[in-house]
Amino acid sequence: MPEVNYTAVMDITRPIVWDFVRDMNNWAPLAKGYQTHEILNDRESIWTVKGEVGPISRTTKFHITITEWHEGERVAFTLKGLNESITGEGAIMLTDRGDSPGTDIRGEATLEFGGSMGPVLNQLIGPWVQQGADELVTAIVTTLQPTYVRPSRPFFLVRWAQSAWRLLRSGVAAVFGSREK
């Protein structure tokens, strides 16, 4: 089954971000393929989403159930297709940035088609789910921080490069000392 995640860093403190994320009405319309949603109660909702399976897009209704609620930190949910044999789960997590003010926001999702053709359809839906995670997290960030610029390369490559550069700098400094007089 496709399992995807995407992380972005924000210059906004976690309580502000949480205040936005805690209300589904704020971010549901930002989801990729979003059409409508209907809140049933404080844990359950019905979403209508237009998703892509290969070259075809399909409008699917999902029953979303919030399964975890850690105030200020994490909301997790499951989803079940109402007109398609499809299940999944997801989560949005917030953590304070360690080295500077701000928040890391991370979105995770898995989606799986059931039925005998499920293995085939799961091959096709992966790219859409990944893009969905990327776009949702980015949209949340951009809404709260309009100046946010999405990294042009996959985030993990940027973080790898940043880490490598820090290591190199510290290594050079250790050998040659600081250039400052």
Binding site: K50, G54, P55, I56, S57, R58, T59, T60, N83, S85, G115, S116, M117, P119, V120, Q123, L124
Partner: protein, 545 residues
């Protein structure tokens, strides 16, 4: 357009207008005969209708038949083909097709990346004299898309055939869903393999790229340029301006039909079309250009029509996806009825022929009595067979009408309840007797082949176990098959029957060589590519003259 072109933007020997199977074949053959060939494609993707098709070619006497021990002969092929054309195609054209198609197949197999695979699908009218119970339909070996390099992204995706299956796997899977090789499909997909029309176009495209044949995308041919009565080139819309391209040998129109042109449909076709499975660029560009220079037209009332259904909410490039209804009307435990609740045809005949019944115009009610129509199925069908995209154990989709009684179902979908109950009662009696004496369901070789081999009868089964289901069908098309008449060299003829020098046609743009008939699976592409082969060769020869 009489030539006032003083400065041509480009000069080549042969221009193929359209990048489907016919156009790419014309360009390949022209190139291989020493001509400088150019392909013009109106859209931003290569492949046309061929790319979104099953990718089969119907070619009698092909060499794979002999390799697989299947006999065929010119006499049998001609007898069969001429029967189906019903006198509406010239004999010499049919003979040319029969005498050339297998040469096309041999040439492509020996000289290009194309790799054929024999299908066991019977000819569509398998019980006619000269028909074969398999072998004349050729599918494609799977193709690894990444071999196209940067052109991979330019291959037109198929909304229906994107799962890599052979023709036989696809057709047999309808009756035997468990036979669908899911593990093999996943493996093929993980390797980036495609099948069907994408495989055919992928291989033709690779062959063109290997030969460095230029393919211009987003270049729409708009008008033929004529000089002293000869077609010498084209006015093309490209990058927001007119570009004039000279063709020393000739222009091969291979830009499909007019199924997306509402005005032309109303002018020429005998009935309505609700949706098409072809790309939306088939708006009669070739027909317009050819008519403008005096081309004679024929077969204009014909199209490759099939009973189809669009799953609500399912789209490709923001258009509803047209789905072919085959097993749903052919397998046991299903019938088709019109709004009066009556059957009107053998539901198992091939899609092209069943469309004749869809287009029946009732002089009493003064309308198309059988449009829309409905497949009426019961839970026995649902438990055993695929229904469009739904497997037997999947939940009933909300786009499928469902009720616990036939009467309730009829009222739900707008069919006369008394008529439906009577028709189903009659059907069940015929099934019990083992013979459909009303319409002959289950008597044809083709329908029996795609029926259920494990059922008491491959196509007959009672409809008596609720819940009952109804699927509304409308007339959809894979393209039109009327247009400019050509001769056996692919040259377009004017209204006096004379050749229009420098102008050729191939594929759905031209007057179809099968008349109202459909020879078998791949009947469109087989004809189209054969004429692409012929046109490419002859246009290249003209360039040398």
């Amino acid at each position: 357009m009489s030539s006032t072109v003083k400065n041509w933007d480009q000069e080549v020997d042969v221009i193929a207008v359209g990048s489907g199977g016919s156009g790419l074949t014309a360009a390949l053959l022209a190139h291989d005969r020493g001509a400088k060939a150019l392909v013009l494609e109106r859209s931003d993707k290569v492949g046309g209708t061929t790319a979104v098709s099953g990718g089969g070619l119907w070619i009698p006497m092909n060499h794979l038949m002999a390799e697989n021990g299947i006999d065929d002969s010119r006499e049998e092929a001609l007898t069969y083909c001429k029967r189906l054309t019903s006198g509406r195609a010239e004999d010499d054209m049919v003979e040319t097709f029969v005498d050339t198609g297998y040469k096309l197949v041999r040439y492509l197999a020996d000289n290009t990346e194309v790799e054929f695979e024999l299908s066991r699908t019977p000819d569509y009218r398998a019980d006619e004299e000269g028909a074969k119970l398999g072998g004349r339909t050729l599918g494609q070996q799977f193709f690894e898309k990444k071999l196209l390099g940067e052109w991979e992204a330019k291959l037109r995706p198929s909304p229906l055939m994107f799962v890599p299956l052979t023709i036989d796997e696809m057709l047999k899977g309808m009756a035997k869903p468990r036979s669908v090789p899911v593990d093999k499909i996943v493996e093929r997909m993980s390797k980036g393999m495609v099948g069907s029309g994408n495989a055919l176009i992928g291989r033709l495209l690779k062959s063109c790229l290997d030969r460095e044949i230029e393919i211009k995308l987003e270049a729409r041919a708009r008008q033929l340029v004529v000089e002293d009565g000869r077609v010498v080139g084209l006015r093309v819309e490209s990058e927001g301006r007119d570009v004039f391209i000279k063709a020393k040998g000739g222009v091969v129109l291979a830009c499909a039909g007019f199924e997306w042109n509402e005005k032309m449909r109303k002018q020429f076709l005998p009935g309505p079309l609700t949706q098409n499975c072809s790309p939306p660029y088939n708006e009669g560009d070739g027909l317009t250009m050819a008519s403008e220079v005096g081309a004679d037209l024929a077969n204009m009332s014909e199209a490759w029509v099939y009973p189809g259904f669009c799953i609500p909410g399912e789209e490709h490039e923001d258009r509803p996806v047209s789905r072919w209804v085959i097993g749903e009307r052919t397998l046991p435990h299903t019938i088709m009825v019109n709004r009066t609740g009556q059957r009107f045809v053998n539901e198992g005949v091939n899609y092209n022929d069943i469309s004749k019944a869809l287009y029946y115009f009732d002089p009493n009610t003064f309308d198309f009595r059988n449009l829309p129509c409905w497949c009426i199925l019961d839970s026995q069908f649902r438990e055993k067979y695929m229904l469009l995209t739904v497997m037997p154990r999947d939940p009933d989709p909300d786009w499928l009408s469902k009720a616990d009684s036939l009467r309730e179902l009829a009222e739900m979908v707008g069919v006369d309840p008394d008529g439906l109950e009577a028709s189903v009662a009659r059907w069940n009696t015929l099934v019990e007797q083992g013979e459909d004496t009303d319409f002959g369901r289950g008597t044809g070789g083709y329908e029996r082949w795609i029926g259920d081999p494990d059922a008491p009868h491959p196509n007959l089964g009672p409809i008596n176990k609720p819940p009952y289901y109804a699927l509304q069908l409308d007339a959809h098309s894979a393209g039109t098959k009327g247009g400019p008449r050509t001769n056996t060299k692919g040259q377009v003829l004017n209204v006096r029957g004379a050749v229009i020098p420098g102008l050729y046609a191939a594929g759905n743009v031209m007057a179809g060589v099968s008349g109202p008939g459909y020879y078998g699976g791949g009947g469109t592409i087989g004809l189209g590519m054969t004429w692409g082969y012929i046109s490419g060769i002859n246009a290249a020869e003209e360039a040398k003259a």
